[in-house]
Subunit: 275 residues, 2 copies
């Protein structure tokens, strides 16, 4: 991500700051793992995986903005707007979102005939999951009253949009590029949705239980903002129990066979992680 | 753009407010005109044209934000953040940018084989022009000191990024989907770049000379923000003269033949318009 001549050094520094910060890289790894589980063995999933991490990072930058969740720390460092100012943070998010699609759109000439329809489908899936079919609707509902006055159903709906859709889309595009058929992809997607919901429940548990140094972002924000979360409504013990059940069910949805062993292990990690 | 069940009504209202407001639709019309000029006669350019208008509208919403140009009026009505608040305005821009790529990515099944590589190339071109290869770099440079301390070269560089690249990309994708070859596309793109620069010069002239009612946005903002523009540096007469010369040159770059008559007429409109 080198700044081309004539472009803004500051913008590229902020893009690198955000996207190259230490992070779990969960979504791209799930995409690559799903791809390999379905028999893919080439590097053609990498641009898609890179794009997914850019899309995810853009959403973190914009969610952290003062007019949104107003969070000063992310990935163990000052959030983009804290370090580079609000205007550059907005543009940095915009730039990473856009670059994601540019990276997916840039496939080598020799592959065009065979892969273009598949990659274009990946564009559609990821745009839907990042946009009003997922992330943006989730954040919009989260900002609205329903995150404060709702019940567990409302919380579930917000989390499916905010978190689970992109995780499911990452696994779906991995399976798609790996050559999986519609039925296999449906199973992968459903498993990803459930695992994504479990991931979010544990995220909210960690928000209550973990210090900033381990978490890499400001803990206790949900309680501070009076936001409903699963552990807030049902307690952390019940939350961990529910997440574990979800992951067990998600694992049972995956296609049979040893090739999904790594996906299963990753699902377990989603709920056993410490940050 | 109907709000699906479970999504945020407020977000969709804001998206409609911004993208369906009365506007010239210059960029999509240029895409469609370039497509038709090159022999295209079907409706397959329409999703690309719609996406281009969404990308353009997103950039207006984010540019108008308080942390950016802080503009209260756009397209003859309150800007998105004035009407829906800052958080929703950020999300509305994000949503339109993302929806643009989703719309391009959604091509009918029966066309997939033939068109996917072409449409994927359009994704790449538009992402580059909307992103760090254009709009975002332009806005970033515009916000930085170079828009205040620079000379005509700096102004030209900002305007090429901020305005001309997306106009050129609109024409380029029109030509691409219309089946044009590389050399024809290069001419169309170069002509579009020059016409786009002329468009921006006239925009800056109108900003100094026209009232808000005609303009549909707050006039005099550039002078207020102490921003360098072509007319500020060289005077409005010289600016109009330069824009006219650029359009004459742009027209001469277009491929020969009567089929580009409408494109030529549109280039003339770019510099004779009153708003």
């Amino acid at each position: 991500m080198t700044c081309p001549p004539g472009a803004s050094e500051r913008l590229f520094a902020a893009m690198r700051h955000a996207v190259l910060a230490p992070a779990k890289r969960l979504r791209p790894i799930l995409a690559i793992t799903a791809y390999r589980s379905l028999g893919g063995s080439e590097r053609r999933i990498y641009p898609v995986a890179a794009a997914i991490e850019m899309l995810h990072t853009y959403s973190l930058i914009h969610d952290d903005l003062p007019c949104m969740d107003n969070d000063d720390f992310r990935r163990g460092q000052p959030s983009a707007h804290r370090k580079y100012g609000e205007a550059t943070a907005v543009l940095t998010g915009d730039a990473l979102l856009t670059l994601g699609f540019q990276v997916i759109g840039t496939i080598p000439e020799r592959r065009k005939g065979a892969d273009a329809a598949t990659i274009l489908e990946a564009v559609r899936i990821l745009a839907a999951a990042a946009g009003t079919g997922g992330l943006i609707t989730g954040q919009s509902l989260d900002l609205s009253g329903s995150a404060r006055t709702g019940n567990l159903d409302d919380v579930g709906r917000i989390h499916r949009n905010k978190t689970a859709r992109l995780i499911a889309a990452a696994m779906d595009t991995g399976a798609l590029v790996g050559g999986a058929g519609m039925e296999t992809r449906r199973r992968i997607r459903d498993a990803g949705t459930l695992a994504g919901e479990a991931f979010q429940i544990i995220d909210d548990v960690l928000d209550r239980e973990t210090g900033r140094e381990t978490l890499g972002k400001t803990p206790g924000k949900d309680a501070l903002n009076d936001k409903l979360t699963f552990p807030a409504l049902a307690g952390t013990e019940k939350a961990r129990e529910t997440a574990a059940k979800m992951v067990t069910e998600a694992k049972s949805m995956l296609p049979e066979g040893a090739t999904t062993g790594l996906l299963r292990a990753m699902f377990d990690f989603l709920i056993t992680r410490a940050s």
